[in-house]
């Protein structure tokens, strides 16, 4: 183990403990492309997220960041290795999981309240109770006046708030987020990050947050995973010891934050360059 700075401690990878919220143990995932070739998405991938921990995954485009999330949901199965969620091997989509997508995954034909109530209704909770909870969650993300609006009538930031309420209403113990704020403008993104940290600290869920934005990762996370250019594997892991609660608008001017971001960027930069040169060569 190599200690880089006080605030950004580089961790060594060990086999995950049994009680971790998420344990991805030495996983390789290959799949056959439609034209019959074997593709390796990620290899020898190990990752542990403790209960209540906020982990961010950064890496160059196409390195398999989103794949790691789909392994946890069970939508993808590992070729070799094991994935455990709350101590149990992943067999099906777990009820403990919530997922916030990069793209707009709200149902455009449902109003805000119908979107938020979708989770409880799918899970068989009586209608009246589901709508009570939905109303409560809509108020918590500050959209009380927009219950009857349809998604297309809302701004991008408001739609993300709906997506957060839709996910948090199921009270997921595991929260997976796939570049959820990448399409938002700077101010909205900062507001949403604060919103997310607030909800997370109340709910005590374990989070895996995938992003290509290193500053976002450092600002949010307890732990940052840096992946190599595809096929992705963990290059290094950093523990971020910035005090909480963090205020997103201010943290980027914190000298400690700047220092950590610099250290990790040095690590990430060569992978990004490698990833870009490969993209240019393969023409994808």
């Amino acid at each position: 183990m190599q200690v880089q700075t006080m605030a950004a401690e580089k961790l060594s990878q060990a086999a995950p403990p049994a009680d971790a919220a998420i344990a991805i143990d030495d996983v390789t995932l290959r799949f056959v492309t439609p034209d019959g070739h074997m593709m390796t998405a990620i290899r020898d991938f190990t990752m542990t997220v403790a209960r209540g921990e906020f982990a961010c995954v950064v890496g160059p485009t196409g390195c398999g960041k989103s794949t790691t999330l789909n392994l946890v949901t069970g939508l993808l199965r590992p070729t070799t290795g094991h994935v455990r969620v709350m101590g149990k091997p992943v067999t099906d989509i777990s009820r403990d999981i919530g997922f916030v997508f990069q793209a707009d995954a709200l149902f455009p034909w449902r109003s805000v309240i119908d979107n938020v109530a979708a989770g409880p209704l799918y899970r068989g909770i009586p209608k009246a109770q589901a709508y009570d909870r939905a109303r409560d969650w809509i108020a918590r993300v500050g959209l009380g006046r927009f219950e009857k609006h349809y998604p297309h009538q809302l701004s991008g930031g408001m739609r993300k708030r709906v997506a957060l309420a839709q996910t948090f209403i199921n009270q997921p113990k595991i929260l997976l987020m796939d570049e959820p704020f990448s399409a938002l403008d700077m101010q909205t993104r900062t507001a949403m990050q604060d919103e997310l940290l607030g909800l997370w600290s109340e709910q005590k869920s374990s989070v895996v947050f995938v992003t290509h934005d290193l500053e976002e990762a450092v600002a949010l996370a307890d732990k940052v995973y840096v992946l190599t250019a595809g096929p992705g594997t963990v290059k290094s892991v950093y523990r971020i010891d910035l005090p909480r609660p963090r205020v997103m608008a201010d943290i980027r001017y914190d000298p400690k934050f700047v220092e950590i971001a610099k250290v990790i960027w040095n690590d990430l930069r060569e992978e990004v360059q490698l990833g870009q040169s490969r993209t240019l060569q393969s023409g994808h």
């Binding site: 949901t73 939508l75 997922f99 997508f101 995954a105 709200l106 455009p108 989770g119």
Partner: protein, 292 residues
């Protein structure tokens, strides 16, 4: 660093000038709307007028190409005196009944088949070739088969309307199911939806705009199916009216029946549009050309 802020301007003056500009813009929109309607009416009047004049001066032979006044007289005599095969309303009713039955059966069948095949890769791969083959058969020809098999009554016309409608709706429903957003399906899955719930609450609503688009087209096809079926052999209906008029070299009769059919199609089209707006009220309002 200095913060630069605009100087306070005379707010009242500004508000007044905005109100004037808005009133002008509204007046301009109203004038344009009136212009569009006026031009539309002018074109209709000019077209009918030239046709009538041409027929009067024998530039357009009214024996072959009819004339607006002749068509109107024909329609009026059908309304007041009835047609050679009974009252006009009965003919319209018969044709509409065949059309609606064929449309409903064909559309429901097409939607069901589209969703089942769209949701099941294996079935889709197996059946796609047969659907292509069936779709390439000129379906109007099936009308003769149906007349032979099902007789001169309603069943043969309904069957022809069904096959006219089925493939259009099926193709659209299938495509709509396939185009359903992957992230949205995954979202529903993680929120806890069962496969049946996904079909009901994600797949069908997202295929709905495709299906509705096909309903517009396919109602016209159902009408064609019913009329062609009557043409080929029937005891009642608008198609028989046309074929009788054709046999008697009555051009006015053919045009009159055609106009009645067009009005029927327009009325139903209007109803379908209303239904569509009701079903997909969640959709952002499309950019609307004025005066429609």
């Amino acid at each position: 660093m200095t913060a630069i802020s605009p100087t306070a301007s005379h707010a009242a003056v500004r508000d007044a000038s905005i109100a004037v500009a808005e009133a002008r813009a509204r007046a301009r929109l109203r004038r344009r709307h009136a212009l569009v309607i006026g031009l539309r009416l002018a074109i209709l009047v000019a077209f009918l007028g030239l046709w009538e004049l041409g027929a009067d001066y024998n530039i357009i032979d009214p024996f072959f190409f009819a004339s607006p006044s002749g068509i109107w007289e024909q329609i009026w005599s059908w309304i007041t005196e009835g047609t050679s095969q009974g009252p006009l309303w009965l003919q319209i009713y018969v044709t509409l009944e065949e059309t609606f039955l064929g449309f409903a059966i064909g559309a429901l069948g097409g939607i069901a088949a589209g969703i089942i095949l769209g949701r099941n890769r294996l079935l889709a791969d197996v059946f796609s070739i047969y659907i292509k083959i069936a779709n390439s058969v000129p379906r109007v020809v099936l009308g003769s088969v149906f007349i032979i098999a099902l007789g001169l009554g309603m069943a043969s016309k309904v069957a022809l309307a069904v096959v006219m409608v089925f493939f259009v709706v099926f193709a659209n429903a299938f495509q709509g199911v396939r185009e359903a957003d992957r992230a949205m399906i995954a979202n529903a899955q993680i929120l806890g939806a069962s496969p049946f719930q996904i079909t009901r609450t994600v797949i069908i609503p997202s295929a709905m705009s495709w299906i509705l688009a096909s309903l517009h087209v396919s109602f016209g096809f159902a009408l064609v199916g019913a009329v062609v079926g009557e043409f080929l052999g029937a005891k009642q209906g608008m198609g028989l009216l046309i074929s009788t008029a054709q046999g008697a070299f009555n051009a006015n009769g053919v045009f009159a029946a055609m106009i009645i059919l067009a009005v029927m199609a327009l009325v139903v089209e209007f109803i379908i549009t209303r239904f569509e707006n009701y079903v997909v009220k969640w959709r952002p309002a499309p950019f609307n050309e004025q005066g429609t």
